[in-house]
Subunit: 357 residues, 2 copies
């Protein structure tokens, strides 16, 4: 199976450990390896190495190449000259895949999500693959909400279009932007709404057709790129054309508008590990609620998150903070303010401290 | 004038920046140089370099020698083989000084206190010197309390025995151990009580006589040392005899019991910089009450103390903490718990992490 792994994120929310050249997907947030390595590892038996394509930005290509050495051929690691959100990234991948493989199903994954129960994941993907092969369909994986999360988009599920064992594929009735907490609660209680996981399945032909219908501007850029490949190096072609692509997400640009959009219930465990707070989902806390990665000394400290590499972190009389050793930087943040770590990154950029971001 | 600088402290309360081999007196806590360098610098015009003696422990002698290179002759930096509190340290100094200089006034200072208004300090010392030269007296410098501090001992002042300009020397009526907060308040309101600064003035003969009367056990050790000096290297003599000295402070062992004890009001500004909290006395706070040494980014942060060397410290949504970059270690401590930094040091020692203390 063809798989595209989107690895262009910069992961500001994991500052100070994530940096421009060492983004979230290259961090080992679980103790089991980098996020991208785990993502590729999950494809064993599903996609051959040469069937896996990783799309990142030119700046990260070197580190990702090194991280995935032996897992993915170097020529399958594509560097975007500029970031243009998911629609151009997916369109470009579909163009490259169809040149080599023609019309084939392609799975689209994020490089920095965590999925457990790999066998269930692979089963779901196989069922999705057969569905999108049989008819033109744009399939997205929906995650059953476990809390009234305001950080994700939601998908309203319609009637069931395929049922196979415990697997369910629904028609997607609506794509809903990140809700406020009240609406999020309604969605969770209603039971008919899924988190939009950002994982997709379709054939190269179906997605390129949908882009041509709903994002003609992007389609023109992709056609230009397709026409020039082979006449000069891919990087040069992309540098010439890719910046002209509109910056738009595939959800907003295609999924919300297209026909044949379906949502498949994810039966595997999914976690997008979106901030330092979600580190607590993947590491056990001690009896006093402290999650500690690395050496530490705690004196009257409760409900903290400590992430260190080589340094010993001592906490005295402090609760509910996250402390992160970033090497040249130290972060101390109240746990309910982890989203504002992005403000630190912005401040450093404003001060021209680019070496720290 | 002969001056003895006591520099044996380990300064656990300034962990993680202070370490066994880099104790508080070697730290630059003010941005103006190490505490010991400032202490020696304050003696310019008062004591010649060869008249200054520094007593430390053997482990710190190397670093202190380096720090004071050119300020104090190497042979004047004495290394105690073990710490035995202030009475043996002062007795040993008096023995060494009287061998070279006979009966002369000697000023005793701590290496890690901060004194401002140096001219006033030198004037006070000169007046004290003439007082203890004219009669056998044990003079201690008392600091007018500015708050109900429970961390210091107090001295009750009796009648004035010398008045010279604004200088006052009182008979010392009583030495009082660290009080509880209620008694401390009484002392401050009463107006007749001084903080015991741990700075002294007497002649070599007077202090050795007082030790002989009140600490005969220490006196025997000092006599043995005095008898062997010259027959073999000082370090060997000290190694053989010094551990047998009783571990006792000069306040408790001598001052509380002796006759002729006087207290001179310190008219200079004195600060013992006793913990990370007192860093705030010597560095100005910003408009939101943050005292910051080193690079930092503050997002919604107030009343914090940040001490960093090379690292950038980012604080998001956290108030009232002290964050210290210790190189191989990071401390995050609630400001009203800084005394418990000692517990971190103890924990690390218990875990055999001696390289971190």
């Amino acid at each position: 199976m063809l798989t595209v792994v989107m690895a262009g994120g910069i992961g500001e929310r994991f500052w100070p450990q994530s940096r421009r050249k060492r983004p979230k997907q290259l961090l080992d947030l679980t103790g089991r390896g980098s996020m991208i390595r785990l993502t590729i590892g999950r494809l064993a038996g599903l996609s051959e190495p040469e069937e896996i394509f990783v799309v990142t930005n030119v700046e990260q290509r070197g580190p990702i190449l090194q991280e995935l050495s032996g897992m993915v051929p170097a020529e399958n690691i594509i560097g975007e000259p500029v970031g243009r959100n998911t629609a151009p990234c997916i369109g470009l991948s579909a163009v490259l895949l169809s040149r080599t493989y023609g019309n084939r199903p392609m799975l689209v994954l994020a490089a920095d999500h965590l999925i457990d129960r790999v066998q269930v994941f692979q089963q779901s993907v196989r069922i999705g693959e057969s569905y999108v092969t049989e008819r033109p369909a744009l399939l997205t994986f929906g995650v059953k909400p476990t809390r009234a999360e305001t950080g994700y988009g939601y998908i309203e599920a319609g009637e069931i279009v395929r049922e196979q064992g415990s697997a369910r594929i629904h028609r997607a009735k609506a794509f809903l932007e990140k809700p406020d907490v009240e609406r999020a609660r309604e969605f969770v209680e209603n039971g008919n709404y899924y988190w939009n996981s950002g994982m997709f399945m379709w054939t190269t032909e179906t997605i390129l057709g949908a882009i041509s219908t709903h994002l003609p501007e992007l389609s023109r850029v992709l056609t230009a790129i397709d026409g020039e490949i082979g006449t000069r190096p891919l990087d040069e072609v992309l540098k010439a054309w890719y910046p002209q692509a509109p910056s738009i997400s595939v959800d907003y640009g295609v999924m919300e508008k297209a026909d044949g959009v379906v949502v498949m219930r994810a039966e595997f465990d999914w976690n997008d590990v979106g901030s330092w707070e979600s580190i607590r989902d993947v590491h056990p806390a001690d009896a006093r609620g402290n999650v500690c990665i690395g050496n530490h000394v705690l004196i009257d400290a409760a409900d903290n998150t400590i992430v260190s590499r080589d340094r010993t972190v001592a906490i005295v009389g402090v609760d509910q903070v996250v402390v992160v050793d970033g090497g040249d930087t130290i972060l101390v943040c109240r746990r309910d303010r982890v989203q504002d770590v992005k403000k630190v990154v912005k401040t450093l950029r404003d001060r021209n401290r680019d070496e720290l971001v």
